[in-house]
Symmetry: C2
Subunit: 295 residues, 2 copies
Amino acid sequence: MGSISNGNTDTSIRSQISKQSTSPAHEARLLSRHNLITNTSGLAPNYLQANLLILPSKYAQDFHDLCLRNPVPCPLLGITAPGDPHSVTPSQCIQTPNDFDIRTDFPRYRIYQNGKCLSTSVPSLLDVWTPDHVGFLIGCSFSFEDALTAAGLRPRHQKTNTIVAMYKTNIPLLPAGVFTGAKFIVSMRPYKAHEVERVREVTRPFLSTHGEPVAWGWEGAKEIGIRDVHTPDFGQKQVWEEGDVPVFWACGVTPQMVVEAAGDKVDGLVFAHEPGHMLVTDWTTGDLDKLRPGF
Amino acid sequence: MGSISNGNTDTSIRSQISKQSTSPAHEARLLSRHNLITNTSGLAPNYLQANLLILPSKYAQDFHDLCLRNPVPCPLLGITAPGDPHSVTPSQCIQTPNDFDIRTDFPRYRIYQNGKCLSTSVPSLLDVWTPDHVGFLIGCSFSFEDALTAAGLRPRHQKTNTIVAMYKTNIPLLPAGVFTGAKFIVSMRPYKAHEVERVREVTRPFLSTHGEPVAWGWEGAKEIGIRDVHTPDFGQKQVWEEGDVPVFWACGVTPQMVVEAAGDKVDGLVFAHEPGHMLVTDWTTGDLDKLRPGF
């Protein structure tokens, strides 16, 4: 694992990491491990970023099923073996198994118990992880924002340097085992009505990172149960321009809602990433076809 | 293709098919081709049965995406190449490519245009198929009914010799390309409240044929928008016993609702199976793990 001395200054740690890392993704993970970055939006372009859920192993099969039944909010990028925080299946997901730790390589974590969030912005899970924990890496919509920008459709929250707005919806997740009763969380980016079809096209190939929108327009907002787009449940209120309509994507915060909905049906500690503080994986946009199931 | 003379009686055709066929699944397809069977419920136990949607090729990518985004109502078992009604990818799905025709090997078909059903119970598609059509085979819940029966949980509609009750719901399908605005169709089987967890367990491994239920109980019925379980939208009203609660599964009639919702956004003829009149594939329950995506 990281051999960087704690006595060094941030600048010299950064310089050592830069020399030691084998790719921009590896570098982002090392910077996260040393808590030198927070929000990972825009980091290591072209690499797929991941949301996190870590559960006691007895719930791993049910949660895996939940992901397969709900691949739009919960697209799987990788899973750790029980008790092994260092290697991820499939191995393409993290190509530095000798220099990876799921307990440290996200910038910040959350800790849940009985469906309730106990702690936020935790820098490491080293003290709370047990050999019985299994980690799930879930695709993140940051991964398609570069493609939107390249198509001249830069997300508003990037232009205004805010956190994307997120909302609770009435869209049910299809239940799997112990995980019942949860609803989708969606992220929202405002676009002009005439841009919506192009926005759908650009994000469509990103099936493994939430893909195309789940709803759009003012009528679409109402249908998924969002009464007031100016009051997001997570993230920040967005700046609106004349002629904007809301466009909604499934969001990787959904797994945290799944844990909240399961409540005390889940025994033991559950860990998640702090929203916006993702893992940069070694999957790239060039791997999207490989990650796509189907024939 | 079938070399059976039309001059023979049904009995002698059946006997020739029985000699000529290489498996119970192949035999069921040949019987369907000669229109000697209708409802395929209970036929060729252990073989997975398939629902059908056949579309003009320009909508194939969007429909494929729709299936991948909604794998519970639309689990993919196989796809034909454009214009080739004889072979299916993956090849394990139909292992008699020299003796298969998607246009004849379902017992009965439906024909759609502009989202409207033009004809029902059509015995063959030979006259309407074009070299531009692509067929999608979608898992069917008949496949898990044997497992329920083996667990002492025989579906009510089999005991009473009725067609399973099906309902429109408020559960949205996640849109893909031209396919927007559709809702799930569910099938319903009544069980005692104390049997529900066991019923969920038994059907859980059948991810590729709709898997475990999407809702259950009287409160569950209300949540998915079903006001009166005694008035199904398709199939037949079920016989209820004291202490029964409804249990709902995603249903393979959903793709037909997808086509109805798309309306005149889809040009050209679309074909589907007649509900209850399935294709018996060469996939077996032993292949369920192979069909399961995930890691």
